[in-house]
């Protein structure tokens, strides 16, 4: 067999590696800012830099910029070598690189400007969503093209992980991003309420699975054997690992919605699959670690392996903890607390971060045909990073459990032991400070790495095209000349059947989905009404400011929650919520029943300066809401979009919506004037107050009707908090 000469494209790998390092530092720096904002509210430096906007920048930067570029760097390096072929198209490689970097820049800018869909980890607005899909597909074509022109018949297990990543992420992204544009940078999710929540967490969970896990497992199966120069412990196990993981992972999403308004059977299904996931996850973890059996002495010497061992160990911890957290009894404690934040950072800092670092220490010297500048610096980085993880994660566990137990603590007389939510925040502020310290250690380590790698690159020179040679792949099957292409399919009845089924399914989905979704948005609770135009505008400002990053709108059916917040959430209450705003973390109290609890003046003062009404509050100030004029020009388009989505506004309502809006705004403005607060009715804060006062009241109204129907009603204190718990059946716990 004749040897073919070709070269590997190293330049694209180098470019992605540089992007990984740059965005990694940026993402971690923003993370540190976010951490500090929870300790010192003054760190919320102005409109564009409040927690609600910086937190999505942090999560998106780490997931899609740092880890995303890490995936591309690792895949572009390993794929070429495993397939003994240059990338299919240098042009597509460049499209992938520049396209991805421009998405990142657009994402950062748009998120800071408050352009967000309000769906966690899918916050980017529709034009960027389309760009992501295009760039992702160009990556997929490039990868599949390379696979087709490979010179190595066997597809090494890492490649299977890469393929699964591409296919699944493409589907997740498209399904979750179906939205109706209102303007260039504003859209509403096609789904509403419970449906939106389900789609979002199906996406969110699988983004963890297929963006943060499968590609990195592929990288693990390539870079650990390479760095240790020994084959993986069991190749057979790696194959089982892959197929088992792929078939189980996608069904576990509902575990993010335990005790929510999601039907019980869906919750249980998610839990069962989550528990089953331990098996393949740990199989993979052990396979990675056991690769180093009999070579642990090299781990002591080699910083690359050190990082990778910690990474794989963290993977093992996170994939044990994850299933545990999806047990309902554990989730009752962990959900909405910092426990989740701790859990994600075992994965993020430990698994993704450390595997990336290990990969970079191995890759950069190879690309520049030189040795690592300083092993000592790499060791310093290793210890800064490891201590950083410990100082980050442990306080988060303490914070999460402490706060959850405080939320659930009752006095002997049956009242809440800590009725003021703020008490439970102040109790764990020390942990937030320690977490920021841990984060800065981790960041310092990363800076040391970047310096080390810059010196390394300077000492060598980039091997942009690395020569290689391999025999061409022998053809196994030769199609008979002249026979029709269709014959090939016809000869394979099983594949043909599957193919047709797939086509039919796609066709059916495209046709049925829209109508069918809108139909299921018909309210099941008659008192639930669409938002008024002012409330709708207020809701969009609530989304813009990222209020959902700290405030949930989902009261679980526990006595501790109904006693604190009011009647638990019902699925039927959210039918007009595009998007849903259930949240995933309570840095502040739940707001589902906020409407009517406090008067307009309180909300005004609280938004102006939270510490004026609640001493010690960590919430940012929102003084610009008073300065900004409400954008009433968009009202008509928004109402029309809602009508398209099936929200029952009267026909032609869009044209008169602003009249209603102004009327309601003037009422609120007049009410504020009674408390000596002079604010024009056209300012944004009025809309936000309108929305907050509406929250959860649809069901409350019904309760009050029931109450007034009772014969004797001793004292009514309209300004006091409306406590509906008396009428609520005590459930849960």
């Amino acid at each position: 067999m004749e040897l073919e000469r070709f070269s590997y494209d190293n330049k694209i790998v180098r470019n992605f590696a540089v992007a990984t390092l740059v965005w990694g530092i940026v993402g971690m720096l923003v993370g540190l800012v976010v951490a500090l904002q929870l300790v010192w509210p003054d760190a919320n430096a102005g409109e564009m830099l409040t927690f609600g906007r910086t937190r999505p920048v942090h999560t998106n930067a780490i997931i899609f910029a740092f880890v995303g570029n890490g995936i591309f760097a690792g895949v572009y390096y390993s794929l070429q070598r495993l397939l003994k072929a240059r990338m299919f198209s240098d042009f597509l490689s460049k499209v992938n690189f520049w396209g991805w970097q421009s998405i990142i820049v657009l994402a950062a800018v748009s998120l800071l400007l408050g352009k967000t869909t309000g769906k966690e980890y899918a916050e980017l607005e529709w034009p960027i969503d389309i760009l992501i899909a295009l760039v992702w597909v160009s990556f997929g074509i490039n990868m599949l093209g390379t696979i087709l022109k490979r010179r190595e018949r066997h597809l090494y297990v890492a490649i299977w992980f890469y393929i699964a990543t591409f296919v699944t992420v493409a589907m997740l992204h498209i399904v979750n991003s179906i939205e109706i544009p209102v303007s260039l940078f504003k859209s509403y999710s096609w789904y509403a309420g419970v449906q939106d929540a389900l789609v979002q967490w199906w996406y969110g969970h699988n983004a963890v699975a297929f963006f943060l896990t499968t590609p990195y497992l592929g990288l693990m199966y390539y870079f650990i054997p390479k760095a240790a120069n020994r084959p993986v412990y069991s190749y057979k196990l790696s194959i089982i690992h892959f197929w088992a993981l792929i078939f189980l992972y996608i069904w576990a999403g509902p575990h993010h919605l335990l005790y929510s308004a999601l039907p019980d059977w869906a919750q249980s299904l998610g839990t069962v699959f989550s528990i089953m996931l331990i098996a393949p996850s740990w199989g993979g973890m052990l396979n990675g670690l056991l690769t180093l059996r009999g070579a642990w002495d090299t781990v002591r010497e080699n910083p690359v392996l050190k990082f990778m061992v910690v990474a794989v160990t963290c993977y093992g911890m996170a994939t044990f903890e994850g299933p545990m957290m999806s047990l309902k009894s554990v989730n009752a404690i962990s959900h909405f607390t910092d426990w989740t934040i701790g859990h994600t950072h075992v994965g993020g800092l430990g698994w993704n971060g450390f595997l990336t670092f290990g990969m970079m220490y191995w890759l950069i010297p190879k690309l520049y045909n030189t040795k690592l500048h300083s092993v000592r610096m790499a060791n310093i980085h290793f210890w800064l990073g490891t201590l950083g993880i410990v100082f980050y994660v442990v306080p988060m566990y303490f914070a999460g459990i402490t706060q959850s137990l405080m939320w659930k603590e009752f006095n002997p007389d049956g009242t809440l032991a800590y009725p003021n939510f703020l008490e439970t925040v102040l109790q764990i502020k020390y942990a937030y400070a320690m977490r920021a310290f841990g984060g800065s250690l981790y960041l310092a380590g990363a800076v040391v790495m970047v310096l080390n790698l810059i010196k390394t690159a300077a000492a060598g020179s980039l091997v942009a095209n690395e020569d290689a040679e391999a025999p061409a792949l022998a053809k196994v099957y030769q199609a008979k000349a002249g026979s029709h292409w269709h014959r090939v399919i016809e000869r394979r009845p099983v594949q043909m059947l599957v193919f047709s089924l797939v086509l039919v399914a796609v066709g059916g989905l495209v046709e049925l989905v829209p109508t069918f979704l809108i139909k299921s948005n018909i309210p099941t609770i008659s008192s639930v009404k669409p938002y008024t135009p002012l409330e709708l505008q207020g809701r969009d400002i609530y989304i813009r400011e990222g209020c959902y990053t700290c405030h949930s709108q989902m009261i679980r059916p526990f006595r501790s929650e109904t006693a604190r917040y009011g009647e638990y959430s019902k699925a039927g209450e959210f039918v007009y919520d595009h998007p849903f705003q259930w949240g995933s973390k309570r840095n502040g109290p739940d707001l589902q029943r906020e409407g009517g609890k406090r008067n307009n003046a309180w909300h005004f003062l609280h938004l102006m300066n939270p510490r004026q009404t609640s001493t010690g509050s960590t919430m940012p100030t929102y003084e610009w809401l008073i300065k900004h004029e409400l954008d009433t020009a968009s009202t008509a388009a928004k109402i029309n979009a809602m009508i398209t989505l099936g929200v029952p506004y009267p026909e032609g309502y869009a044209s008169q919506a602003n009249n209603d809006l102004m009327k309601q705004a003037e009422e609120i403005s007049a009410d504020l004037a009674k408390a000596d607060i002079e604010v024009p009715s056209t300012r944004e804060i009025v809309a936000v107050i309108a929305y907050l006062q509406r929250l959860g009241t649809d069901i409350k109204v019904k309760d009050e009707v029931v109450k007034t129907a009772e014969p004797v009603q001793p004292e009514t204190t309209p300004t006091a908090s409306t406590d509906t718990t008396a009428t609520v059946a005590q459930t849960g716990e």
């Binding site: 597809l155 296919v167 449906q195 789609v199 084959p231 190749y235 194959i239 594949q495 979704l517 299921s520």
Partner: protein
């Protein structure tokens, strides 16, 4: 809750793609040899003599 059928459908679609891939992998003898690929990936075989490709 109608949307759950879309999610199940989409998930099944992906699962079906993987099932086809799995059957293909078995049929085309991808897993006939479950040891040597793990060793082979360790060798990158740079060319013996210098080529004329430039950086």
């Amino acid at each position: 809750m109608g949307v759950i059928y879309i999610l199940i459908g989409a998930s099944f679609l992906v699962a079906a793609i993987f099932l086809v891939a799995f059957i293909w992998a078995i049929r085309s003898d991808q897993y006939k040899d479950d040891y040597t690929p793990s060793v082979r990936m360790l060798h990158d075989n740079p060319p013996k003599q210098k080529s004329n490709t430039t950086d």
